[in-house]
Amino acid sequence: MKQITLVCAAGMSTSMLVQKMQKAAQAQNVEVEIRATSESSFKEYADKTDVLLIGPQVGYLEDDFKSKYEPKGIKVSVIDRMDYGMMNGEKVLADALSL
């Protein structure tokens, strides 16, 4: 099962998006585990993450996280601003799965 982890400053607003993504996944019958956490505690979830999505407001973490986690086989991407604002779970999920 694919594991997606979303990070932002405190993991609050990403957790709202996670809910929408989970709903979208359920509707499409996609087996996937999605969670949100703060950027500072992502380390704890690195081993069980296939796709790491970064909230646009902490987009500056991209380079650092890419250099740290891409060698470990984790796909890293920053969530599109508009999709984030509209809490478009369907689109973000589709983008994450196509990475």
């Binding site: 400053a9 607003s13 809490m87």
Partner: protein, 434 residues
């Protein structure tokens, strides 16, 4: 647009450098880790110092016992801070953090003089609470960094093969811990020769007091708010970047208030983390979201408003910031930057003229709802003030909201005309409502 993107990217990099700086984030995350203890202390303070006479009479026999938990948490918060700051720094350097953290605690205690009062030997609590917080930050960073430096030099005792790994681990911490301890003993000894007698006295007088004076002013809060909001305009989480710098100062101001409140003394500070949270963090975006939900004619804006409104009660603003968007939208720059500043200024003056009490300085945990926070910070008047600021912010946003709504309506009408020309019925609102 291309230029804005470029500037945005550049700012992102700088913001990242500040927020991700290992030392800054060790302080920030270390202070964050003291949260459970601060909350325990806050409850204890609330229950023991609640200013209601019948209640005070009722608890009088056990007041000291109820307050015990706060004395041993907020009262000695520097002990927790030095440990966690050192811990976080060692973690950032990918080192086993426990021994460096304990070594930092030892170093802090070495700098704190044992005093004798009437034959009782005691550590002065004065330096273990809010007044010792800056020493805790420095010692946490220096002791931990030095420990790591020594470990990296491999100045450790090598054990022969066959010795259990746990034993090896214990001994590997021996030399770094001894060297760090010796350094702090020397520093402590040197200060005893000066008129300050202790490092605490020196740092408090020459660093903490001036920095608190600087950071505790209304001007500093306004500057911090401008930077915060301007960064948000470029899509960067302005609060965590700005707080990486000002949080240590604001938090120590809050803790001084909390100590005073516990002791029944007048609250020394107005500005602090709690003040920022109460006044600048809810009303602006909550007011804006209400305008969107109830007064917007544009379907798109109303939809985003409904999406964003629930979050604004808990100071979560990302759906609005990115959805409308506020980010890179020059039209909204004025109200977005001005409204929290207006709120902070109003709150400040209402406090100085005695209309509102100063916040008691309980750490404002992220996600605490508006109104409830005002109560937690000591008064129904603060809770009410939080609500009064909402219409104020609606007024500030209103003229800009009108223009925004008109623009959105025009776009929607154009989209409709286009789709009618193509012979497809209705507007394609799918992207908005899904």
């Amino acid at each position: 647009m291309a230029n804005e993107k470029k500037l945005s990217h550049k700012l992102q990099r700088y913001a990242g450098k500040i927020q991700q700086n290992r030392y800054m984030s060790a302080i920030s995350n270390g202070l964050m880790s003291t949260l459970p203890f601060l909350i325990v202390g806050a409850f204890s303070t609330l229950f023991s110092a609640l200013a209601w006479e019948p209640y005070q009479n009722f608890i009088a026999p056990v007041k000291g016992i109820i307050g015990l938990a706060s004395t041993m948490t907020t009262g000695v918060i520097a002990l927790y801070a030095v440990f966690f700051i050192a811990y976080r720094l060692a973690q950032a350097f990918d080192k086993d953090p426990l021994v460096p953290a304990a070594t930092a605690l030892l170093s802090f205690l070495i700098l704190t003089p044992v005093e004798t009062f009437d034959k009782v030997r005691a550590l002065p609590l004065q330096w273990l609470g809010a007044q010792g917080l800056f020493v805790a930050m420095f010692v946490g960073l220096i002791a931990s960094r030095l420990y790591i430096w020594i470990v990296d030099r491999n100045w450790t005792i090598k054990m022969p093969e066959g010795v259990p790994p746990t034993v090896v681990k214990t001994f590997s911490g021996l030399i770094p811990a001894i060297l760090v301890a010796v350094l702090f003993v020397v520093i402590s000894g040197l200060f005893m020769q000066t008129s300050f007698v202790t490092v605490h006295e020196f740092i408090y007088t020459y660093l903490q007091v001036p920095l608190e004076g600087l950071g505790g002013s209304l001007g500093a809060m306004i500057i911090a708010l401008i930077i915060m909001q301007a960064l948000w305009m470029f899509g960067i989480h302005g609060a965590i970047v700005t707080l990486a710098i000002v949080k240590p100062i604001w938090m120590s101001l809050d803790l001084a208030n909390l100590e005073a409140f516990q002791a029944g003394a007048p609250l020394p500070n107005i500005i602090g983390l709690a003040f920022w949270y109460i006044f600048a963090n809810y009303a602006p975006m909550l007011g804006f979201a209400l305008l969107l939900v109830f007064l917007a004619k544009s379907k798109q804006l109303r939809t985003i408003g409904k999406l964003g409104l629930p979050g604004t009660f808990f100071s979560i603003h990302e759906p609005l910031n990115f959805g409308i968007p506020v980010v890179l939208n020059p039209l909204l720059a004025v109200p977005f930057i001005a409204s929290p500043i207006v709120c902070a200024v109003l709150g400040y003056f209402a406090t100085t003229i005695g209309l509102l009490p100063a916040p008691i300085g309980i750490y404002p945990a992220f996600g605490t709802p508006i109104f409830a926070l005002g109560f937690i910070e000591g008064s129904w008047r603060l809770a009410a003030a939080q609500l009064v600021l909402i219409p104020v912010c609606m007024l500030i946003y209103y003229p800009f909201f009108r223009i925004l709504d008109r623009q959105a309506l025009e776009r929607e009408r154009e989209a409709q005309e286009n789709s009618e020309q193509e012979g497809t019925a209705g507007i394609n609102a799918g992207a908005v409502t899904s």
